[in-house]
Amino acid sequence: MSRTFLMLIRRDLLLAHRQGGGSLLAIAFFVLVVSLFPLGVGPAPEMLERIAAGTIWVAALLSVLLSLDRMFQADLEDGSLDQLALLPIPLALVVLAKTIAHWLTTGLPLTLTAPLLGLLMQLSPDAYGALVAGMLLGTPILSLIGAIGAALTVGVRRGGVLLTLIVTPLYIPILIFGVSAVEAAAQGFAISAHMLFLSALLSGTIVIAPIAAAWSLKLALD
């Protein structure tokens, strides 16, 4: 069972690698969106420092959103989704494996890029730890909730826009906790409460999201 699970993750990573540039595209978009803000609000360092956390988190959120619609679409189109449903492991675990692969190719690279953007946005030196820790806990939740949205809209006309409309409101708590952790750290406050909230959200979502997404995928397969 765990071998199948690991093989599924490897398969998706290989596919992402072969199709090429999925992660790079997400990172490029991430950097691009963040660099629009100094151009929009002006380069004054104190202004940038104030909006740094929010900007980076919103940009990360948008980058993940942008990468979601291919999560199951390619597998549905070439018929491999039917094969995956026939595997001896529950479909929810297949979804979980695909979500982990999605996180490894988007959430993780975004998290690693974030400190660099912190430099561009004059982020306070005390806040880097909170930014990276928050994103490490938060981006997996983005992938998990995104999996539900992607599964609901797989094979639907103009699924991409619909996916954004469905998923974005559900992302709001992660944005709030992620950003306020960075702001608290910048002001020298403890961030353990924020991290606890994010961990609680992650552990809840990791149970519920794969099941809900698997239910939705079964619809597309009927």
């Binding site: 609901l152 809209t153 409309l165 469905i166 409101p169 559900l170 708590p173 709030i176 939705s216 009927d222």
Partner: protein, 247 residues
């Protein structure tokens, strides 16, 4: 539960309920309007703007209540494959969205004289705005499918995921609000509601509830008839194809 899954039986029950719900809605809303606008005294702090409350508060309550109803009927639809529960959830969404919109609009109109600006990122208004997006996403998901059974199940899953998420969203928004809000602002709750304002408010709340039930019945009726039309058309197409195959 399945007793009401039969469309004909549901239609009969709905026809029996409709006159009562319509009468209660008309009476309560009419009386609430007259009482709230003409007889209720102005609040000692908020003056006549407090009359906006008689629309704002019931629509806020109904915005949340309708979503709760939608989530419950979605659960019933998913678990028992209940044929009418789907339609109740679908028919509820536009009503809930309308209440949410009214709540936002009146909140903004109340905020202008109270706060001096049309929009404040107050915890309640912000939660309501997110609520509106959730309603719109739910309605858009229904629209996206051609196959109504698939649409029903997908929408039900989304409604339940939203129901699990809404408390988390509400909590996080309130938390965010306490971080950013200067404490001097008057909140929408205002001071404790005076008794003279309570009665018209109660009337309006009952009226809004009865209005929801009335409109819901009409919308579910429309859905049932549309489903019958679709099924008849499909049967006709099948027969047509069979006849052509026989020729």
């Amino acid at each position: 539960m399945h007793r009401f899954a039969n469309p004909t039986r549901f239609l009969r029950l709905a026809a029996a309920v409709l006159p009562f719900s319509a009468a209660v809605a008309a009476l309560c809303l009419g009386a609430g309007l007259v009482w709230g606008l003409f007889f209720a005294p102005p609040d000692y702090q908020q003056g006549d703007t407090v009359r906006i409350m008689f629309i704002h508060v019931p629509s806020a309550m109904m915005a949340m209540g309708v979503y709760a109803g939608m989530a419950i009927s979605s659960a019933i639809a998913l678990i028992w494959r209940h044929a009418i529960a789907d339609l109740i959830a679908k028919a509820s969404a536009p009503i809930g969205a309308t209440f949410t919109f009214i709540c936002l609009l009146t909140g903004s109109l109340w905020g202008k004289p109270m706060w001096g600006t049309w929009w404040v990122w107050d915890a309640r208004l912000t939660s309501m705005l997110i609520m509106l997006f959730i309603y719109l996403g739910y309605m858009a998901l229904w629209q996206a499918f051609d196959d109504q059974t698939k649409a029903a199940r997908a929408a039900a899953i989304l409604a339940l995921v939203g129901a699990i998420n809404l408390p988390v969203i509400k909590f996080s928004v309130e938390w965010w609000n306490t971080l950013h809000q200067p404490a001097s602002l008057i909140t929408m709750e205002g001071p404790k509601i005076h008794e003279s304002l309570l009665w018209p408010l109660l009337l309006m709340i009952v009226g809004f509830g009865a209005y929801y039930l009335t409109v819901l019945i009409f919308r579910v009726r429309a859905e049932i008839h549309q489903r019958r039309t679709r099924m008849l058309r499909m049967a006709q197409a099948d027969r047509h194809n069979a006849m052509q195959a026989a020729d």
